[in-house]
Assembly symmetry: C2
Homo-oligomer: 313 residues x 2
Amino acid sequence: MAHRPIILGIVGDSAAGKTTLTKGIAQVLGEQDVTIICTDDYHKYDRAERAENGITALHPDCNYVDIMEDHLAMLRSGRPILKPIYNHHHGTLDRPEYIMPKKYVIVEGLLGYSTLAARDCFDVKVYLAPPESLRTEWKVKRDTRKRGYTEEQVMAEMQKREPDSEQFIRPQRQWSDIIVSFYPPSDAPNENDVQLNVRLVLRPTISHPDMTKIVDSGSEGNHPVRLELQRDMGKPVDVLEVDGHATSQNVTDIEHTLCNDVPDLFPFCSTNGNPDIGKLVGTTGELLQSYPLAITQLLIAYHVLKAAKIHQH
Amino acid sequence: MAHRPIILGIVGDSAAGKTTLTKGIAQVLGEQDVTIICTDDYHKYDRAERAENGITALHPDCNYVDIMEDHLAMLRSGRPILKPIYNHHHGTLDRPEYIMPKKYVIVEGLLGYSTLAARDCFDVKVYLAPPESLRTEWKVKRDTRKRGYTEEQVMAEMQKREPDSEQFIRPQRQWSDIIVSFYPPSDAPNENDVQLNVRLVLRPTISHPDMTKIVDSGSEGNHPVRLELQRDMGKPVDVLEVDGHATSQNVTDIEHTLCNDVPDLFPFCSTNGNPDIGKLVGTTGELLQSYPLAITQLLIAYHVLKAAKIHQH
């Protein structure tokens, strides 16, 4: 192997869009080179035991966080792990699985940034933070369609989990390099076919491409691509906004900047005519395709490929 | 924890007496301070898959040796592991188990010394090498009484495994610090209640107590406790023989030497009136009690306790 595996984290609350975004980034990086790990597999208790103990899957005490840390460190150094398996379908803990990390490892889950030792293993840390109203909509849709719950059950479960979400999940935002929030435009009806905007918080903990050159900073308040200097959790960040109604013309410059820096990305540039970038099948089967999604995938893939270049030896 | 865990290996072929000796040594060390790991848990395939693939459990390719290496290294540094579980009763691979190592870890199994990385994790390496005739007797007894096989099935299985025993199991003798061979006296009928002799090969890879002072080296060929300089696999070793008919008087000096060096052992000195030392319940329920067994347990426990002393910090 030319370089150690590069570890990308996709962390966020239940139904925040982790699996969908993970699949999209794996497409850009090349699925044959990507190992996907879900940290839900590190649950200590199966579904029946959690119900019995009155503990939610979001609580660190419900997860082998120490084992997760060790496994992340092993993967980062290119060593195989015997990963436990949490079977979402049956809610059981099954026979573990041997995993030899490929070139890129995407680690998605609830608690990936919850400890220092775990955080230290990631090259790029993404946190998904859709507005709670949108996350609720996504969770109801998924859990009723794919996991056999009623809407009332899902809502009750979310309410039960809220204290743990607040205490353990949302604070992880502070440790991320990129915070991704898809959200519906304020003037749009809350429908399935609405084109979501994306708000990307770019924390200067990793070196983002210089967007000031390409985005007309703040000059036009209603331009579909905007960059603004802000504070996030009290710390300076850049915020890149891409509206759902942005056009190919609007995003061309950003895409080309990313792709010129990392030529491997060029084929995935949507403005290069690639029909698949920014096109994703959601976990409940709906087709998503948008420029905001394309820019999000490209920017994350950009950081993964840059990290790989740095660690080549 | 005052010191890192001390790792003792008990390696040998199937039915060589690993589990029984492991239990006996855990008694001497204090069961509350001992974690027992069986490397059979690192089988890659369940029983049905092994039959299908025509591979025996003795073959390294049938085991996650790399994962075993990593787990041994973790235990040695006092870190927990999520150990896979091979269910001997059902022949299945089950939900893994969280193990935080205690003061002493005894690792028993077939392939513990098969790689350099694994061997490097052990503080004391014991290899069990009963004569094949005795091992066959033990295996037939155990597998017919406890695992539901017929004698013919057990014999056929042993024959099928013999090439792998020769190629992968027996060569591990060379890496051990102590080779333990219980064997029936040549003049004894091959019966269950016969008092077995023990032959302990002491390889100078660890510092054994100076036996020359206490054992009348070679002067009396028929003394029930004898020490002899020999070669084992071409290399110089001491061989300590303790006959089954040795008396308390015969073993007193050896026991006191071990116990004076490591005072924690003193309560377990059989000549000190301890009724449990050298008394073991075999895996098929028979009671074993003898001075050869007592000396073997004490000598191994002696090395574990000495290693703990050295690594105290």
